[in-house]
Symmetry: C2
Subunit: 435 residues, 2 copies
Amino acid sequence: MQTITNQSLIARDLDVIWHPCTQMKDHETLPLIPIQSAKGVYLHDFEGNSYIDAISSWWVNILGHSHPRINQRIKDQIDKLDHVLLAGFSHESAIELAEKLVEISPEGLEKVFFADNGSSGIEVALKMSFHYHKNRGKNKPLFVSLTNSYHGETMGALAVGDVELYKETYNEILIQSIQTSVPKDQSEAAALEAIVEAEKLFAEQHEHISAIIIEPLVQCAGLMHMYHPIFVTKLRELCDRYDIHLIADEVATGFGRTGTLFAIEQSGVSPDFMVLSKGLTGGYMALSTVLTTNEVYQAFYCDYLELKAFLHSHSYTGNPIACSAANATIDILRDEHIIEKNQEKIAYIKKQTERFKSLEKVKSVRQTGMICAIELSGYTFEDRVGIRVYQYALKHGVLLRPLGHVIYFMPPYTITLEEIDMMIEVAYLGIVSLE
Amino acid sequence: MQTITNQSLIARDLDVIWHPCTQMKDHETLPLIPIQSAKGVYLHDFEGNSYIDAISSWWVNILGHSHPRINQRIKDQIDKLDHVLLAGFSHESAIELAEKLVEISPEGLEKVFFADNGSSGIEVALKMSFHYHKNRGKNKPLFVSLTNSYHGETMGALAVGDVELYKETYNEILIQSIQTSVPKDQSEAAALEAIVEAEKLFAEQHEHISAIIIEPLVQCAGLMHMYHPIFVTKLRELCDRYDIHLIADEVATGFGRTGTLFAIEQSGVSPDFMVLSKGLTGGYMALSTVLTTNEVYQAFYCDYLELKAFLHSHSYTGNPIACSAANATIDILRDEHIIEKNQEKIAYIKKQTERFKSLEKVKSVRQTGMICAIELSGYTFEDRVGIRVYQYALKHGVLLRPLGHVIYFMPPYTITLEEIDMMIEVAYLGIVSLE
């Protein structure tokens, strides 16, 4: 019989693993938590402790852990076909997934290109946009993004981001990009003000700009900053006027997170590229897709010897196992009316987080669909209040992972009202406990 | 009962999927092949045709398809834990995998950082190397690679590549890197000549160079160009002398492909970073790892507020399901003595490909372990001889996917001598059939 304990695994772990997005020295005082199993919204460690996964394990497990339909679909896939390269070959799961994505995505997105993670998907969209213009005789080497934006960690994705914490160290090994201001808050006025700035930039430099990339409505890693949908509606008009692509990074916002299936739906427009990952596989494994228009596709479609093809590839492009998880996820969202049912939870979270507003240290409470963020003020970076709330919450059975001084909830959609109560109560007490 | 045919799937596929590394117009004349199932070295389509997967589906399925031990391990993992974020948390499969990798990799590689695909892993290594020097007070924004090298498709990985076909289009949106000549052939003299050039470059610019990145012994996407192990031995000395990191891209060469577990073993040295992917999961799904030294790790280890941490992350970093496939793969390689048993197959392939040398159109036949390449000459780019051999081979039950005018074999290690005969015979006749 095994006698695995948290402690024994922690020691083994720290000897060999370098964890992502972590100052490893923190683990001298902040214990790592080895997870033995997970079911629904709960993570279980090796000592009988359970944690509500209130951030869906970095925003991926949208249907909770160990969903029986996803589990079964993956097992069936493994028994049939593990993998085959997608160049020259194909398979049912990739075809089914691409058809589903075209069907459920905004109008005009008709072709699906596969990659492995959000960052790689962003890189595909950037390269494809630049290459599209090139194939049409235009050289447009600039990309625009919003201030405070985050689009991933590979060097192309990082170059179009604007979160200093992740980017500043590497500035010298990144290409230059241009930022235009994100709307400063969720008001329509702020959105329209930001559009004026974007229009000025486009008017001046459109001949050199391939694309603007945005996270529609919520800049997730950008401290859950939120803005009004009309910004994207107006931005679409600008993009059309100036022959600039609109890339929607829906890696975090997609698959119901903002209350609609895709965030950009709330703006009533379609992007030229939409990048999906995270929730795409229901939180089971890495996969990303880049959807685009037939117009973009056609700009690469010609005789081979013209050398206009998009030669990007990753080994596991369209991996059958990952596609099977994604197919199950989309089926569940539809069959179980998850997004419709979320509306009650969204309203409930709104109601239950009202009380945070009366706390002196709370600067704002903001929400877009199944994302709710509580921003604290009056603390310095050195106070590390986020990590203190994190520790408090863990002790009380909830996994929160604040971004600096912003505590947020992005739970699996399968969370119950009672579990929402617990998640919010623990966050509330965690904030109150700060001094 | 389903009546799925190749034709029905092809039509559905072409309507929605944009395939990787493909001029989609080619599929007007070159039929896509939908694969229904795969077992061992065989891919099976929907019309009863089977194909020997002589390129291991882009060099990943090293143990053949649908290996019972890998299948079972993944299923067990799914029943236990689908996924949990690896920041602040951990799980047995990631720990086990990191321990195994440290154990089997060259001496001095002690810490494992996870990413999702080869490109992302390369980006991690580049960023970590640059950041290491920065944390030690040195600003070294340049990377060196070898001429004719390929390291992936995301913009950082592409920037350190040198295969025009993939890179030239994007030069304006890539950072600059420096190339030094790869040894021109497999001789020791060529290796030493190339070292002289590298030494000159290092002597002149070492203050600005963070790292040199190489594929040890074989530049796989670089038309299977091969070189002598002493090049890497000598390069290691240069790197030590000039405080430049050696990054070994073993994405394609790792896990036994070159006859040893890792290619760099044949040079008797250790790199500062080793990037693994492809065969890591036995060809089941995307995963990559970057191994590095405790010295590198320690340069980031300090109080959080010093802001020296490596904050790179991908959502699915250390995904349990992918780790479980990797653990099974490493167990199989060890338990079934796969690499030892490959030696007979390596010798057999060498013997059986001798006859290619007498063909007038064959310029060279070269081999490193389980990679054997036949380079043709006398054809132009426009002749597209590769695709003609590809089509010939498919008609005769073998999946080859030549790189331009280089036909190569990279079969699963489970291939039998009889299947090797068939693979080679079909390639031979395919070449002979060219006019």
